[in-house]
């Protein structure tokens, strides 16, 4: 049954480009980007309880590394994206090593600081990054085709989700959840909580780098908006609204919010306000998100 359901989702995902026009295909690609972002953020926040505000910043690291390598070094975007992913992972490791021991508030503040440092550097190193003006970078494919990009994003997203699923079902995943449930009990049960958190933080940062690299090469334009706190909020809202700490939550949240934002785009700037209100109500009254609500209703019946 479950297998059939998954096959169904997969089939629909494959068929999407054949009955969406260019515009909605664009929306679908962007939602896949957000699926990667929200799911990987969920890995640290939802599964080990650390609120990182640098997730968008790591996407920025991926985007700028890959974009600038391609532009100035002539490196093929595929290699550049790998380099960006690695760099984001290494930075994640360093940043995590700096503050994970200190715990929750310190991690949040340090990641916020990191994100701000990155924004300032990108804004000021105009001669390389063109600051807020944005940098035009080459695409992944020599011929621009949204269908190609869609399948690329889909493949990477699926591969990522499968990997994440396996990780969560492994010993490491068990340790993640133990740390989230009760840090003290986990540590006296032999779990190296610092290492577990660092692992989650590093892999999730690398994942954000990968997503960011792909995103930059799809838009062919990278700006400090990619590593901005506004972007960070969107990712957080998607995870919270979908359901933090559940596997499907951030996926559903990302797709729903991205499509919704296209429908309410006439309200321009205020869609952030609306998302914020929805996220606040959900965080306050239904901390397990849409998925949690759904399960509650399902169980009651």
């Amino acid at each position: 049954m479950k297998r059939a359901g998954l096959a169904g989702v997969f089939l629909i995902a494959i068929l999407v480009p054949f009955f969406l026009n260019q515009y909605w295909l664009h929306v679908a690609i962007i939602s896949l980007f957000y699926v990667m972002m929200a799911s990987s953020w969920n890995l640290i926040a939802g599964y080990t309880g650390q609120v990182s505000f640098a997730h968008a910043a790591f996407a920025g690291v991926g985007a700028y590394t890959s974009g600038m390598l391609a532009l100035y070094g002539g490196v093929h975007p595929a290699l550049g994206i790998i380099a960006g992913t690695l760099l984001a992972g290494v930075l994640g490791l360093g940043l995590g090593g700096l503050c994970i021991r200190m715990g929750g508030i310190y991690l949040s503040l340090t990641t916020l600081g990191f994100s701000e440092i990155l924004r300032i550097i990108i804004t000021n190193e105009e001669q390389w990054t063109r600051g807020t003006m944005g940098l035009q970078i080459p695409g992944v494919f020599s011929v621009y085709s949204k269908t190609h990009y869609y399948f690329l994003f889909l493949a990477v997203t699926l591969a990522f989700l499968v990997l994440m699923r396996r990780l969560l079902n492994s010993d490491t995943g068990l340790a993640f959840r133990a740390v989230l449930n009760d840090e003290l009990a986990a540590s006296t049960s032999g779990i190296d909580t610092v290492r577990v958190r660092l692992m989650a933080f590093t892999s999730s940062s690398a994942m954000a780098g990968l997503a960011g690299g792909l995103y930059g090469h799809y838009l062919m334009l990278i700006t400090p908006d990619i590593p901005s706190l506004g972007q960070m909020f969107l990712v957080l809202a998607m995870a919270v609204i979908g359901g933090m700490g559940s596997f499907a939550g951030p996926i559903i949240g990302a797709i729903a919010l991205e499509f919704l934002s296209e429908y309410i785009r006439i309200y321009g700037e205020y869609h952030l306000l609306l998302f914020g209100l929805v996220a606040l109500v959900i965080a306050r009254f239904a901390p397990s998100g849409m998925v949690g609500l759904w399960e509650k209703i399902w169980r009651r019946r």
């Binding site: 479950k2 989702v9 515009y23 664009h26 944005g134 838009l219 334009l221």
Partner: protein
């Protein structure tokens, strides 16, 4: 799992159902900032659009259909600008796009225009590269940095005999481009200068101003857009730099915003700014008509010349589609290249020689205006002047 399939299917149905269907209007796309630090431009654009639509549709519309404008917000952010432009093309399927006032956004948008082969007429993004890239689909019926500096700012500095110049520029494409062109001109004319860069949206300039004071300049060319200019001007007075050194607002509109006097107080007196509009200077009958109809519609004098710029490009777009007799992109570009249309600022004719920024470019005449007793006095060029430059004692 079944629910996930359901949710996905539901989305697809929704998406499908919302596809645009054939309309009986002609849509023209407009891009510009309606939110963000330059949202005032969006307001100015909206007024210009309303007036242009009145005029175009009153005279029978385009190809016998009414014209409709889809105004996409860019927030002044290049990334949003590019995706907004793309939405106009892929979702609304507009045959032509006009507008834009940020060089950074425009530089991102022309790539999209070029990718989708959609004609795009820019009205107020001044960076040379926009037309210098020589994209077939990109036109500009508005100032280019080089034109503004070469024909107005540099000659003004020279003719008025300023001996020491300070350039203060924000870190945007416009700021960088216009400052570089100014430096080039000043070097050529042997006028000493210093350049300082400031952050876009900065509010505190004390540090920069203190450094500047040591240089003792006679005129400060301020390439800062938005309210940042107001704070710069006010603080220049506080530290005793202005009005001994006159401040020239290299963009213009911020010196005309309602908030200007509120934010600068007495520091606004003697400030100079670039403009392409003055109530006593009318270059064409269309300019007069625009002024009168604007007053009738909005009950006030037009203040932001960007209202007029967007009005102009909409007239140009409508005229081109009419002459192309179709909404085919190639036909529109052909028609645009043959444009000879009177708008508020003169008769538009796009340059056709590739190789420089003058390709597909038409430069409207500009003025240098000074606030004297809270009145706008045109002080340059001489043939349009309504008064003389006043310096501080």
């Amino acid at each position: 799992m079944r629910k996930l399939v359901g949710v996905l299917l539901g989305f697809l149905v929704l998406v499908w159902a919302s596809d645009p269907w054939a309309a009986d209007t002609i849509k023209i796309g407009v891009v510009g900032p309606r939110t963000g630090p330059a949202a005032a431009t969006g307001k100015a654009f909206e007024e210009g659009i309303a007036l242009a639509l009145d005029h175009i549709n009153a005279s029978g519309g385009v190809l016998g259909k009414q014209v409709e404008v889809v105004f996409e917000d860019t927030g002044g952010v290049p990334e949003k600008a590019a995706s907004g432009f793309e939405k106009l093309v892929t979702r609304d399927q507009v045959p032509i796009v006009v507008g834009e006032s940020h060089s950074s956004s425009a530089l991102a948008e022309i790539e999209v225009a070029n990718r989708y082969k959609v004609p795009f007429i820019i009205c107020e993004a001044w960076h040379d590269d926009i037309t210098k890239k020589n994209y077939k689909w990109v036109f500009r019926a508005g100032p280019a940095n080089s034109g503004v500096v070469d024909f107005y700012i540099a000659p003004f500095v020279k003719d008025m005999g300023f001996k020491k110049v300070a350039i203060v520029r924000e870190n945007s494409d416009w700021g960088v481009g216009i400052a570089e062109r100014t430096e080039y001109n000043l070097t050529k004319m042997n006028i000493p200068f210093v350049t300082l860069k400031v952050e876009r949206e900065a509010k505190d300039f004390y540090t920069e101003l203190t450094k500047l004071k040591a240089e003792n300049p006679e005129i400060i060319l301020a390439y800062i857009y938005g309210t940042g200019l107001h704070f710069f001007l006010a603080q220049a007075h506080e530290v005793g730099l202005a009005p001994k050194a006159l401040v020239l607002d290299g963009a213009g509109p911020p010196s005309l915003w309602e908030s200007f006097w509120k934010n600068v107080g007495d520091a606004g007196e003697l400030e100079l700014f670039i403009s392409s509009m003055h109530q006593d200077v009318h270059l064409t009958p269309t300019s007069r008509k625009f002024w009168d109809d604007y007053k009738k519609k909005f009950g006030k004098d037009p203040s932001d010349y960007k209202t007029r710029s967007i009005y102009n490009v909409l007239l140009i777009a409508a005229d081109a589609i009419n002459r192309a007799k179709s909404t085919n992109n190639e036909a529109i570009v052909d028609a645009l290249e043959k444009t000879e249309l009177e708008v508020t600022t003169g008769v538009v004719k796009f340059g056709l020689n590739p190789g420089s920024y003058e390709y597909h470019q038409w430069m409207p005449p500009m003025l240098v205006v000074q606030w004297q007793n809270k009145k706008q006095v045109v002080v340059y060029p001489k043939e349009a002047a309504t008064g003389v430059l006043v310096r501080a004692k």
